[in-house]
């Protein structure tokens, strides 16, 4: 290609001579005319690109800077904007690639079939719902069970109808998925289970949240912790001045409907000098919190103290010399999503010696997720404890010397 494109010297020469032959007149005329007629019309339709660059297609650094100064930062990478500015902008599904269009035909046909199936399944569900429970052999429970399984099938069909759609995939990858729709919830859950959930499960089992605080948990809700704008991974060490204010949680559920949950922040590593063991202490406890796939954000500082917060936030602190404290955050779902009675519950809970298991059994709660962060003594802990009115910042704990067993002594009497 290159050699054929390269202009020969002769051609170049002739071109140059052409350009030299009529230098001034043509240019002058063109400048004159264009200014009067065409350019103005164009400007009337659309202002010049250089005056008013489009953040989608701008790729000259100078114009980018100009846009950024104007408060409209350019969208996407420069490569993408450059390609977009030159592309004919054909919609994705109309791109005339043969195999792609054939594939689309197959998928369109499949989606129509799925839609038909959804219609029939819906009609079936309606029929069963209106039927008299006496018509079933098992009565009402059997009917409910059957309805539940049919609903699940309907949900599956809805996912199948949309899962082959490239635009759905694109929207999900762009983060524009609507969590009210089953397909996006399904995709989000699959993505969560692929990696982040594995890490979460590893952290809560490796750091023994699971047997120490809750008996067992199969996480079905994604938990993200943030202190202000600072996101905290599960199991990270958090400086005590950062964790002085309560954290914000993102509790992303992936199944339909609202959930009524209780959030407990429990520290199972409070050293107890008298018994030479560790106690647990509740740093935060709030009930009757409603979460849904679309409203996952829970700010612990903004829950209402009159109807939700059982125990307000106590800043996590570790005394000097004590091993790190695990601040385990446990999400518990209420049975049948019914709120618990606030006043009696508030009277009963105690901060020190709090055991989550008895709280769970008293209020019929089931753990649906757990996470944790850790804290240890640092420079700011003393100030934090003082501000919170806690004592013990001036005490340093020392490990008790363990007397070695006789046969493990360095210098047993038999050596002498």
């Amino acid at each position: 290609m290159a050699p054929s494109r390269a202009p020969s010297a002769l051609l170049l020469h002739s071109l140059r001579s052409l350009a030299i032959e009529k230098p001034s007149t043509a240019l002058a005329i063109r400048a004159f005319t264009s200014a009067s007629s065409t350019c103005q019309e164009v400007q009337a339709e659309r202002p010049s690109f250089y005056r008013n660059p489009d953040p989608e297609t701008v790729y000259q650094p100078r114009l980018e800077r100009k846009l950024a100064r104007a408060g409209r930062p350019p969208i996407g990478s420069r490569r993408r904007r450059m390609a977009l500015s030159q592309s004919p902008r054909i919609p994705f599904e109309q791109l005339p690639y043969q195999c792609f269009q054939e594939a689309r035909k197959v998928l369109v046909e499949d989606r129509e079939e799925k839609l038909r199936k959804i219609e029939t399944e819906r009609a079936r569900v309606a029929r069963v719902r209106e039927a008299d429970p006496g018509a079933f052999r098992g009565g009402e429970p059997f009917k409910q069970k059957k309805l539940a399984s049919m609903e699940a099938e309907l949900e599956r069909l809805k996912i199948l109808a949309d899962i082959n759609d490239p635009s759905v995939k694109r929207r999900f990858e762009d983060g524009k998925g609507d969590m009210n729709k089953p397909i996006y919830r399904y995709l989000a859950e699959r993505k969560w289970r692929e990696y982040p959930r594995k890490v979460l499960v590893q952290r809560i089992t490796q750091m023994n949240v699971v047997p120490d605080v809750v008996p067992n948990v199969d996480p079905i809700v994604d938990v993200k912790i943030a202190f202000g704008k600072k996101a905290v991974g599960s199991g990270d060490f958090v400086p005590s001045d950062v964790s002085e204010k309560p954290c914000q949680l993102t509790l992303q559920a992936f199944d339909r409907g609202e959930k009524m949950v209780t959030i407990a922040v429990v520290d199972p590593d409070v050293p107890n000098v008298e018994t030479d063991s560790f106690d647990s202490r509740c740093h935060y406890l709030a009930s009757n919190i409603t979460i849904s796939p679309t409203k996952p954000l829970v700010d612990l500082s903004k829950l209402s103290p009159g109807s939700q917060v059982l125990l307000p936030w106590l800043p996590p602190h570790a005394q000097k010399g004590s091993p790190y404290h695990r601040l385990s955050i446990v999400i518990l779902q209420h049975k049948d999503n019914i709120p618990i009675d606030f006043e009696p519950a508030k009277q009963k809970v105690e901060r020190d010696g709090f055991t989550l298991r008895s709280f769970m059994s008293r209020h019929l709660l089931t753990p649906i997720s757990a996470s944790l962060f850790r804290t240890r003594w640092d420079e700011s802990t003393a100030a934090v404890m003082e501000r919170a009115g806690l004592e013990g910042a001036n005490v340093e704990l020392k490990r008790k010397k363990v007397e070695p067993l006789p046969y493990k002594r360095r210098n047993p009497s038999s050596f002498r």
């Binding site: 369109v108 949309d162 019914i338 009963k348």
Partner: protein, 356 residues
């Protein structure tokens, strides 16, 4: 010490007597509200994606830019290249476990290192299998059972140890009768378990490589690669064997595992081109097999040279270095007789004694 423990336990039980473990009001509210819990499910038409790109056929007829679309026109008309992209995903070279943040994409993704394009053809043998061989096999092996018939229960193949000996307690179950190999069970053939060819292993022991240098290995590898369309896997000797001149650690053999499209192409060539041209060949010995449906037979170098890929290019190979092959055909049959029947249908002749 013991006293304190006792007192603690007493206190705990006492507390559980005094205050019930489940608070009463919670239970009451639950009973009253439980009936209302099943909320009515609303209309869910909005639950599907409205802006689906699979909604219907695109109106490509009117749109002239679509018709005139030339994917190469735009890049060719560019005066300068696009600026390079800042970030591109690279699949990791090695899998570092499920918790590593750099995870490889699935093999169907073209960015994956395991991505293999294709299949590019539908081999004739595969079509024949699905259209003719499988129905015929089912018909030949059909065993009628009247409606309501139940086969008599057989005893467990692994028997417990019965006796008075104290060593029989918790002992692993006794092996099957007549040997210590637990053979696969053969179930009656129905439309669900018709045997099919699963994979083919082509194996070649290169004897010349023991004394004649690496040329033998290379020629054999090239021949196998030409025949099977796959890179070979070489194997080293695991032990010294003075009688056969085998030295530990020396490359002596190579295998290729074939599946899917390549397997069917290989079998097609083997059955239709190579096997019919072997002179004075009776067929495969009917006693071959490993009792679980995998049959093996061998080819000598002269017949390997009649594979079309080698025959057309015979001058490129040193004639004495062309290897012989062992071909193992793995089928999903659970016994040799079914596998043999399948291979007869495919076109491999058998001879000799039949042992089942």
């Amino acid at each position: 010490m013991a006293e304190s423990h006792l007192s603690l336990r007493l206190a705990r039980t006492w507390r559980s007597f005094v205050k019930p473990s489940i608070c009463n009001r919670c239970l009451q509210t639950r009973r009253t509200l439980a009936s209302q819990a099943s909320a009515p499910q609303g209309q869910r038409d909005a639950e599907l994606e409205e802006a689906s790109s699979l909604g219907g056929a695109p109106d490509a007829g009117s749109g002239s830019p679509v018709r005139d679309f030339d994917p190469l026109k735009v890049p060719r008309s560019r005066k300068r290249q696009l600026v390079p992209s800042r970030y591109q995903f690279r699949s990791p070279k090695y899998y570092r476990g499920p918790l590593h943040p750099h995870q490889p994409p699935p093999p169907s993704d073209p960015a994956s290192r395991e991505f293999v394009p294709g299949p590019f053809s539908t081999p004739r043998l595969e079509q024949t299998y699905h259209n003719i061989i499988a129905p015929d096999f089912m018909t030949m092996c059909y065993q009628h059972t009247p409606p309501g018939f139940r086969a008599p229960q057989k005893g467990a193949r692994l028997r417990p140890w019965i006796g008075d000996s104290p060593y029989f307690r918790n002992r692993p179950l006794r092996g099957p009768r007549g040997g210590d190999v637990l053979r696969l069970l053969r179930k009656p053939i129905t439309f669900r378990n018709i045997p099919m060819i699963e994979r083919v292993t082509v194996h070649s022991f290169v004897k010349g490589a023991l004394s004649g240098g690496s040329g033998y290995i290379h020629v054999a590898g090239m021949a196998l690669q030409a025949i099977t369309n796959h890179r070979v896997m070489t194997h080293e000797a695991r032990t010294n064997e003075a009688n056969w001149g085998i030295i530990k650690g020396k490359t002596v053999s190579m295998t290729v595992d074939l599946k899917g499209e390549d397997m069917y192409h290989f079998l097609g060539k083997l059955i239709n081109v190579v096997l019919p041209r072997i002179k004075d060949w009776n067929g495969v010995r009917a006693t071959t097999g490993d009792n679980s449906g995998n049959l093996t037979f061998g080819l000598d170098p002269e017949s390997v040279a009649t594979f079309p890929e080698i025959e057309t290019n015979y001058d490129a190979y040193p004639g004495k270095m062309i290897p012989g092959l062992h071909i193992t055909i793995h089928t999903t049959a659970t016994c040799d007789k079914d596998a043999r029947l399948l291979l007869q249908q495919v076109g491999i002749p058998f001879y000799g004694k039949v042992v089942d």
